[in-house]
């Protein structure tokens, strides 16, 4: 005979309900857990198999809805990043390089980028404040920023760097200062955007979903 707390399986919901009413000596009711919700008729407190399954399915449906919603948000947000020129195809290349063995690759590279870019922006500010500006030094820093922004697909930042370099070449102080301001601004914007993107990714994963891959 089955041990106590055995769920009666293989029976239809009605049968299960009926079995409870039997309450035979060979079965004990489970510890009070929750009311069975499968049928109104069943008023006993026990874990009806069907009720459990139904509750489980309901949870799954809710989670799936949440995941779908997050995935939609992710896709919309990603698409807007590309459309608005924050990132270009090189960023997509980075995402392609991420896999289960390197699940944090993009976040790591992006963090390195912002560490680097923030440092370079500081250096540029100092360099442009000097009485006699060393434009070669300024250009070297911009060149580095251009390179790293290009490597991660930070399109807007890179585009400003291109203009910045030409102002370095012509030793245009005013132009350089404007570019510095712009590059700093674009850098901050991008940082916020990518943080939002990564947050969405984490939410999807936490909800048990997979992050969509944009084509």
């Amino acid at each position: 005979s089955p041990s106590s707390n055995t769920l009666i399986t293989g029976l239809s919901a009605w049968q299960v309900n009926s079995c409870v009413l039997i309450t035979s000596a060979s079965y004990k009711l489970k510890e009070k857990k929750s009311f069975c919700t499968c049928k109104e008729i069943c008023k006993k407190e026990f874990d009806c198999v069907v009720g459990t399954e139904e509750r489980e399915r309901e949870r799954e449906r809710e989670t799936a809805d949440v995941v779908k919603q997050l995935q939609r948000q992710f896709i919309d947000f990603s698409t807007s990043l590309y459309r608005e020129g924050f990132v270009d195809d090189q960023f997509a290349q980075l995402q392609k390089l991420q896999d289960d063995s390197n699940p944090d690759f993009v976040v790591e590279v992006v963090s390195l980028f912002f560490d680097d870019s923030e440092k370079l922006v500081k250096n540029l500010a100092v360099a442009l404040e000097q009485q006699v500006v060393d434009y070669k030094q300024v250009d070297a820093n911009v060149h580095q920023l251009k390179g790293s922004s290009s490597s991660i697909g930070a399109k807007r930042v890179k585009d400003v760097c291109v203009v910045f370099r030409s102002f370095c070449e012509s030793e245009n102080h005013e132009g350089c200062l404007r570019c510095l301001q712009q590059v700093s601004h674009e850098n901050s914007l991008l940082k916020n955007k990518l943080q939002t993107l990564f947050r969405l990714e984490q939410q999807i994963l936490a909800a048990g979903g997979t992050v969509p891959v944009l084509e």
Binding site: D116, G147, S151, I152
Partner: protein, 231 residues
């Protein structure tokens, strides 16, 4: 041909002063099943390769049993390379020693000249590209580097390995070369496998076809020196 399987683990040494680019190239190479070592300067690269200042043009005339494959630069008793390196990929713009300087040093060294070298640059400067190719670089890749670029590396490794295997398999024709002169010589068309023809058909501005008069497989003067000549 008896070539090692195309999925053999090849070791690439990547040289770049940018941390981000090093991380990127490392990931790209590992994704393509290469073993990778990264260094941040040309001088560290030379150190890793076991190069020493006094070893320019050392004659590669060593005992056969020490040398089983002359594209693996581990030969001379003075030099000691812990790990075999099958290809070097280097950034052009680096402080101190540029990628070009590194390339030049490697080609001047009998010890290192057979390791294929690929140059990367963020700038598309034709004169720079030509200079590198003429100095013996296999390929010039524009940054940012992508997976499709990395896929082009394997043929360069395979090609250099196949040339050396030809030599080893025909000991009676093997010539211990005096490496001072690189003469332009005709390659016998049968000695080169066709596997590299795909890399020769790139029409991108990245590569210059150097020896149009020779067989379809692109060759370089230095490799010609070592190729088996049969009359």
């Amino acid at each position: 041909m008896g070539m090692a399987a195309a999925d053999a683990q090849f070791h690439v040494l990547a040289v770049d002063d940018s941390l981000i680019d090093r991380k990127l190239i490392e990931r790209l190479l590992k994704t393509s099943s290469f073993q990778v070592t990264t260094v941040d300067s040309g001088s560290k690269a030379l150190e890793f390769l076991g190069w020493h200042d006094d070893d320019d043009d050392v004659d590669v005339d060593v005992d056969d049993d020490e040398r089983n494959n002359s594209n693996e630069a581990f030969v001379s008793p003075k030099n000691h390379q812990e790990v075999e390196v099958n290809l070097v990929i280097t950034d052009y713009c680096m402080p101190g020693m540029t990628g070009y300087d590194l390339l030049k040093k490697m080609k001047e060294s009998a010890f290192l000249r057979n390791i294929p070298v690929v140059i990367m640059s963020s700038e598309n400067v034709p004169s720079r590209i030509n200079r590198c190719l003429e100095e013996g670089a296999e390929e010039f890749i524009l940054k940012p580097v992508r997976l499709s670029d990395v896929n082009k590396l394997r043929p360069h490794i395979m090609k250099s390995k196949s040339i050396c295997k030809d030599i080893i398999q025909k000991p009676e024709n093997q010539e211990k070369q005096d490496n001072n002169e690189s003469t332009e010589t005709q390659l016998q068309s049968q000695s080169q496998p066709q596997q590299t023809s795909q890399s020769n058909n790139n029409s991108s501005n990245k590569r210059k076809s150097m020896d149009e008069g020779l067989s379809p497989d692109r060759t370089r003067p230095r490799y010609n020196d070592m190729t088996v000549m049969s009359n």
